[in-house]
């Protein structure tokens, strides 16, 4: 059995909560596919593996081999007190030491990857990610860091990360199926971060015709008015789906905030409205040229079918073909 050491650093426990949400397969089976013993984690640690602080010391000294180091949460490289988790030295020091001896190191969630919410605003505590600070290489371990396997820190961002992304990345590393060529410019596995949250969003038809919701709970696209960053967010959320494959942010009716991006959260404010100049959103979809966007959206608005125009601003379906009578017509076909 390999050893997977999971350290909770400056975090909220959200990655762990997300991991517990694993389904198809459920977490116990998912962990079995890794063929690894989970060490150090607040929940799964058991006494047979020794006291937590003893485990961390043995891992740092090389007495216990670490096949995979997973870190949840940002780090405070300059924290005076560190963490109660291992009070002999600041947690950032332990992570630095173990990253040198672990076969590979994985940053779980946006905070561990890029600093995320824990490093937002003025960031007086100087929280940072493991190998990135926001979109700049560096972080705790430095731009040139390579693990013993020869790869940089593999980033699995998301606030939280989808359980499939976490388990899938750990599994690929264990199975020698992931190397640097499989990572994108922010060292995220392309297989999970190579698409956009926008793909497979059920509001795509509204997007195509620029039929936009004006307020929450309406069915139209959330991009034009309500701050949705799904066309910028590199993730497969709307294809993969969350919570027993029932939902996603946009399916939940609220905007995607691009939480897998290195600049989340501050790079995506205002969160709930779309910044515009001259009526054109300033955050145009990734790799769509602005002139084309403006031209196409003007045309598509003109071409928008009445069905979409009306449904976009309605919280319940307005049926095609009976627009005239739907206000007081029977609704039993909604089942």
């Amino acid at each position: 059995m390999a050893n997977l050491l999971w350290i909770q650093a400056v975090c909220c426990g959200g990655e762990t909560a997300s991991l517990l949400n694993s389904d198809h397969p459920h977490l116990p089976a998912a962990l079995r596919t890794l063929g690894a013993t989970l060490l150090g984690h607040g929940y799964f640690h058991d006494q047979d593996t020794g006291r937590a602080e003893q485990v961390i010391e043995e891992c740092a000294s090389g007495k216990r081999h670490v096949d995979l180091l997973a870190v949840e949460g940002a780090v405070h490289p300059q924290a005076p007190d560190g963490s109660a988790w291992a009070s002999a030295k600041p947690l950032a020091e332990w992570i630095r030491a173990i990253a040198q001896v672990a076969d590979c190191t994985v940053a779980i969630g946006t905070c561990a990857s890029f600093g995320g919410v824990m490093a937002c605003g003025r960031n007086p505590l100087r929280a940072t990610g493991l190998q990135f600070h926001r979109d700049q290489k560096g972080g705790l371990l430095g731009a040139s860091f390579r693990s013993k396997m020869g790869v940089p820190v593999v980033n699995v961002p998301g606030c939280p990360a989808h359980p499939d992304w976490i388990i899938g990345t750990l599994w690929a590393l264990r199975a020698n199926r992931l190397d640097e060529a499989d990572l994108d410019r922010f060292n995220r596995p392309r297989v999970f971060y190579g698409k956009l949250a926008h793909h497979a969003c059920p509001r795509n038809e509204y997007y195509e015709f620029k039929a936009s919701a004006a307020a929450y709970s309406q069915q139209g696209c959330l991009f034009e008015n309500l701050g949705c960053k799904g066309t910028l967010c590199e993730s497969d959320c709307n294809e993969r789906l969350w919570l027993a494959r029932t939902g996603s942010c946009t399916r939940g009716g609220f905007p995607c905030l691009s939480c897998t991006s290195p600049l989340f959260p501050d790079g995506f404010t205002p969160f709930f409205k779309t910044a515009k100049i001259g009526g054109i959103p300033t955050s145009l979809p990734l790799d769509v040229p602005k002139a084309w966007y403006v031209g196409i959206s003007g045309l598509s608005k003109l071409a928008c079918p009445e069905r979409l125009r009306r449904n976009a601003v309605s919280f319940k379906p307005v049926w095609a073909g009976n627009q005239e009578s739907n206000e007081d017509g029977p609704q039993n076909d909604r089942l």
Binding site: C12, S18, L38, G42, V117, C120, C159, P160, C249, C259
Partner: protein
């Protein structure tokens, strides 16, 4: 007499950064100090931001009760604006928050609390069903979570960190067919609770109204073999009824407000008698916390968060919230005592607010909430709106009090020129694991630990059970 001071940290199967320092004399704890050791600075992060940002940012205080934080932020903005949510939004909001509470309660029970009985000094064969990643009950509890998550997904889209609760209502209208799906998924989860947790139908459990009735229930049918029955037998055998009590004062802001403003579990303050709850009676003390002292004890509406890590007379990053100047316990036990739940009130009368009663209250509340989720779902009317536009919050003050899984959560907000000027958060564990206050009065856990036996400092099992019975969330506490 030999007095020994020992610091315990981390605790097995407990998330977050908690250190408990205890003084031991003759194998018993004579005093204790609870420290939250990791500061993240959420309150200061929010200064200068758009008020709506609080929904996004505070939800990241805690991975387990983030939805409740975002609900408190939305409620604070609503209170500033003086607006209300549509009826459907209150129902959908209740469903979301109740599911978050049930998930949190069962995560606590199966991942944190019950497995301790498998380890020394207990090493109970009977507890093997709770063995992490191996015991039959542990595995099924983790598997069945999916059904409840499915209900949440249909209403909240994603979790953790759903933004479905906004000042104007909820963002996801739910259709009739989705309500049907949610009922179906809920019934799958109910089946797990009835088969495995209780060994009987929900209604049979909910009819228990006293300790003798509970004892009769434990002795009949297959109840003793259920997870709750097993836990009760192990707790009684190992004295969890006799540890963790304190001269409790209980606090609740009122849990799960219904469509017409009433609450499922009423607000109140209980110190023998139950009185009306008034958030204006809350202050926060920092004498023993790593914050600037000049404010002294402040009401949260004008609270300050100025870190002072150099203060060596302090021992926690948590502040000390007080109600009428006194420490108070919050959580499922407090809610059910204030609600005069007959079973929990009778248990507390017999065993005190002990580790056992706290844990039973948590399970009992989960069961009551499960029943209620179905009722709320049934009341949602898909033809009616879930959201109505709320104006922008430009200036004023607001307070959002919401019962989180672990107890009373409060957000206090002051806005000027459309920007947050001050933001203060008091969390459930902030109450329960508070450090000493201005007059050196210990917090609820600190008092509850006094008298707990620690025969073997390498395995402070009873002490761990008292700590865990408060279901501490250190992420929330030190925000």
């Amino acid at each position: 007499m030999v007095r020994k001071t020992i610091a315990f940290s981390p605790f097995t199967r407990l998330e977050g950064d908690l250190q408990i320092r205890v003084d031991i004399e003759n194998g018993q704890i004579v005093s204790s100090r609870a420290s939250g050791t990791l500061y993240r600075g959420f309150e200061t992060m929010l200064r200068g931001r758009d008020p709506l940002d609080a929904i996004v940012i505070t939800c990241r205080v805690c991975g387990q009760c983030g939805l409740t934080h975002s609900a408190a932020a939305a409620e604070a903005i609503r209170s500033l604006l003086g607006v209300r949510m549509p009826r459907n939004a209150r129902l959908a909001g209740n469903v979301m928050l109740a599911i978050e509470a049930i998930l949190s309660h069962f995560t606590h029970f199966y991942l944190s609390f019950a497995p301790d009985f498998t380890e020394p000094p207990y090493c109970e064969r009977q507890a093997q069903i709770f063995l992490p990643l191996a015991g039959s009950s542990f595995l099924r509890a983790l598997r069945e979570r999916e059904a409840l998550l499915g209900v949440l997904g249909l209403i909240a889209g994603k979790w953790p960190n759903s933004l479905a609760i906004q000042p104007g209502g909820t963002t996801r209208p739910v259709t009739a067919s989705e309500i049907r799906r949610a009922h179906g998924l809920l019934s799958e989860y109910l089946r797990f609770v009835e088969e495995q947790v209780l060994g009987c139908e929900l209604e049979e459990w909910l009819q228990l109204r006293s300790v003798p009735e509970l004892e009769r229930w434990l002795g009949s049918g297959s109840h003793a073999a259920g997870d709750l029955g097993t836990f009760a037998a192990l707790s009684l055998r190992h004295g969890l009824t006799g540890i963790g009590s304190w001269p409790a004062r209980f606090l609740s802001s009122g849990g799960w407000s219904g469509p017409d403003g009433e609450t499922l579990l009423p607000p109140g303050f209980h110190d023998g008698l139950t009185r009306e709850f008034d958030s204006a009676r809350i202050t926060e003390h920092v004498k023993h916390s790593w914050y600037d002292l000049r404010g002294g004890a402040l009401p949260p509406a004008s609270g300050e968060t100025e870190p002072a890590p150099e203060r060596d007379d302090a021992y926690s990053w948590a502040k000390a919230p007080r109600y009428e100047g006194q420490p108070a316990e919050t959580g499922p036990l407090a809610r059910l005592i204030i609600a005069q739940d007959p079973l929990i009130a009778d248990l507390a009368k017999k065993y005190g607010p002990s580790a056992f009663v706290r844990e039973i209250a948590r399970l009992h509340e989960s069961i009551r909430l499960l029943k209620q989720v179905g009722a709320w779902l049934g009341e949602v009317d898909p033809e009616e709106p879930f959201y109505q536009e709320a104006p922008q919050a430009l200036s004023g003050t607001g307070v959002g009090l919401v019962e989180a899984p672990r107890g009373t959560l409060g957000h206090w907000l002051r806005v000027e020129e459309g920007k947050i000027q001050n933001y203060q958060i008091i969390t459930p564990t902030g109450w329960n694991l508070s450090p000493r206050d201005s007059v050196d009065e210990p917090g609820p856990l600190e008092t509850a630990l006094v008298g707990v036996p620690v025969p073997d400092p390498d395995r402070p099992a009873a002490m761990a059970y008292v700590v865990k019975s408060f279901d501490p969330c250190l992420y929330c506490t030190v925000h």
